[in-house]
Symmetry: C2
Subunit: 343 residues, 2 copies
DNA sequence: ACAGAATGTCGAATCGATTCGACGAATCGA
DNA sequence: TCGATTCGTCGAATCGATTCGACATTCTGT
């Protein structure tokens, strides 16, 4: 494996000169530059990451803390991980996965060992011990999702309140008058997950401002329980004509229940998804508010990279940098009006 | 940030002694050991990963090359990534994500920079340029999936031939006489993806040995095309009573087509999945051959870690270490017999 | 009591790249 | 032509942990 010394010897210059050619941080004559570049090429030289990191105190690595609900796995998480890695590469960073169930200990290890320059936390909860630990250690971090418990840390989030509100308003605009909103799972609400709370707030907002009959159903994480709740909501008379869903984990099961109830989608019941992404249903074209994974990933990486070299905090009282992303209906989303006039 | 010198000073010993206490590679007296441990504790000392790596030429990092079919994303991939990371931590390794679309260049970067000790390649294809490049560079690697193109590299794979054969045999045993097998997508077969080819071989095997009427339908990657093929297969008379599916990406769409054809699952049509995992359908209990993600991840990590420090190859002619995992039906899988006697 | 072995700790070299101050040569103005 | 710049390159220190050989001590057996 070639080192900078080998390159220097081959090019007939000092190692420091090679370094300057590669970093461009000092003026080097054209001749020397070419000789060095040729030597680099011939030897297939790559700087050793560890030596570079040791000297410069920059690893050019981001630690990505992946959410771990034991036994559960959200399909979107993998997509986020990939998009975050892509975005990081665009800034010259690599991404190391942190999957330890003991989140705080893992954060300490990351910060202490200097294996990463900053952390990105996915699926942040309200009382997020990891975020708190990072803050306390002064380690740079950016959050995917808001944490009211870690003020001072930069964050990115979809505007879930606006998302649910938009989905409901569009549904009303399409002519629906009796609408069921299936919120996030109850345990997510009681855990005070940001997306669950803000989504609920959006639904309440529309319930107040609109004349349509909007029923909010908190959904369970259990398939049977969810089915029961949905059956009950659909059995109301006059029957609801539209269903807006923020709870996506059990979506296939949900559609089964609808089918079993003898309803066709979208002829008998319009279904609108909030925070979905294209592959969720094998390409089945349901109208939806997209989860802008790529945009969120790019934003959170930008914040994390921007925090590198700082102590990760912000003058108390000041707002940390953040990005609240406005919702958009996915292209091609059309909400079918109710079959029979509903008034 | 505390260094080994700070610890040494605080404990009143030399830095080397601290190192020996931490690594346990030399005998140290009880008194000294305790003093050092106390100093480590008080200072919250963590060894700097870069310094350790520079000196020892071991990064304790595995590079995980994630499959990138532009625009597509398989839900299982994220689960693999997490399980691989967990398994790696069990061996004292971290995992860095390599998501670059230009796979070979990324492998060169990984090998050249010494940022990882070994690579794990997911979704290996027959002519896998990444695997070939790693072999050529003598960089240790392990493959998830077989590559006939990279002999000498250790690999792990589910025995897809046995998996499909098992699913079909169980279906026959349950009493079905007219069975449709939906293979992997045609483009996967023509790309000579291992799982596609081996699955097909398993189907052909059962077709030869069994008296049941088995129809093999190569499935498209396009929802419409897939729907057409399935509709046609189901329209055969006498009608098939069971469907065995290896192609899982468009599964929800598939079930839609079945429902649209007026068939109920499993009353009218038994559906058996091959290479699925529990969350694929939001908990809908279909009989299936599980994709043993955790087992495969543990195995591939073991192989990768075992290859660290070697030149990644094997005496030519000799078999590289590998693991072909036998299929199992998921617990609770029951294949419903056909409603009307089929003979 | 003393040679020799065993035990525990230390000092120094090393891994490979970065970066600062210094130094020789070329260039400039008067 | 000479002193002052400017330009390009070099040498050496440095980042922090590991590890080898050496050096005191203490222990063992006679």
């Amino acid at each position: 494996m070639a080192t900078i010394k080998d390159v220097a010897r081959r090019a007939g210059v000092a190692p420091s000169t090679v370094s300057y050619v590669l970093s461009g941080s000092r003026k080097i004559s054209e001749d020397t530059r070419l000789a060095v570049r040729a030597a680099v090429e011939e030897l297939g030289y790559h700087p050793r990451a560890s030596a570079r990191t040791l000297r410069s105190a920059r690893s050019h690595v981001l630690a990505l803390a992946v959410p771990r609900v034991p036994g559960k796995y959200r399909g979107a998480d993998g997509t986020f991980a990939i998009d975050i890695s892509d975005a990081a590469r665009g800034h010259g960073y690599d991404v190391v996965l942190i999957t330890d169930l003991a989140g705080v200990a893992a954060m300490r290890r990351v910060a202490g060992s200097g294996m990463a320059d900053a952390a990105v936390l996915m699926a942040v909860e309200e009382h997020d011990a990891r975020a708190a630990a990072l803050r306390e250690m002064g380690f740079p971090a950016a959050l995917l999702g808001r944490s009211e418990d870690a003020p001072g840390l930069p964050w990115v989030d979809l505007d879930w309140e606006a998302s649910v509100a938009l989905a409901l308003r569009e549904t009303v605009t399409a002519g629906h008058r009796r609408i069921v909103f299936l919120s996030s799972a109850e345990h997510e609400i009681s855990a005070r997950r940001g997306y669950a709370l803000h989504g609920l707030a959006g639904a309440r907002l529309v319930a107040r401002e609109s004349t349509a009959d909007l029923r909010i159903v908190p959904s369970s994480g259990e398939p049977e329980e969810l089915g029961r709740a949905l059956r009950e909501a659909l059995a109301a008379r006059p029957a609801p004509t539209a269903l807006v869903v923020q709870h996506l984990i059990l979506l296939p099961h949900l559609l089964d229940v609808i089918t079993a109830a003898g309803l066709r989608v979208p002829e008998d019941l319009a279904v609108v998804l909030v925070g979905s992404f294209p592959d969720d249903l094998g390409g089945r074209p349901l109208p939806r508010i997209e989860l802008p994974v790529t945009e969120m990933s790019a934003a959170v990486v930008r914040l994390a990279v921007g925090a590198v070299g700082t102590d990760g905090s912000v003058p108390s009282g000041a707002q940390p940098p953040h990005r609240l992303i406005a919702p958009r209906m996915a292209t091609g989303s059309v909400i079918r009006p109710p079959s029979e006039p509903s008034s």
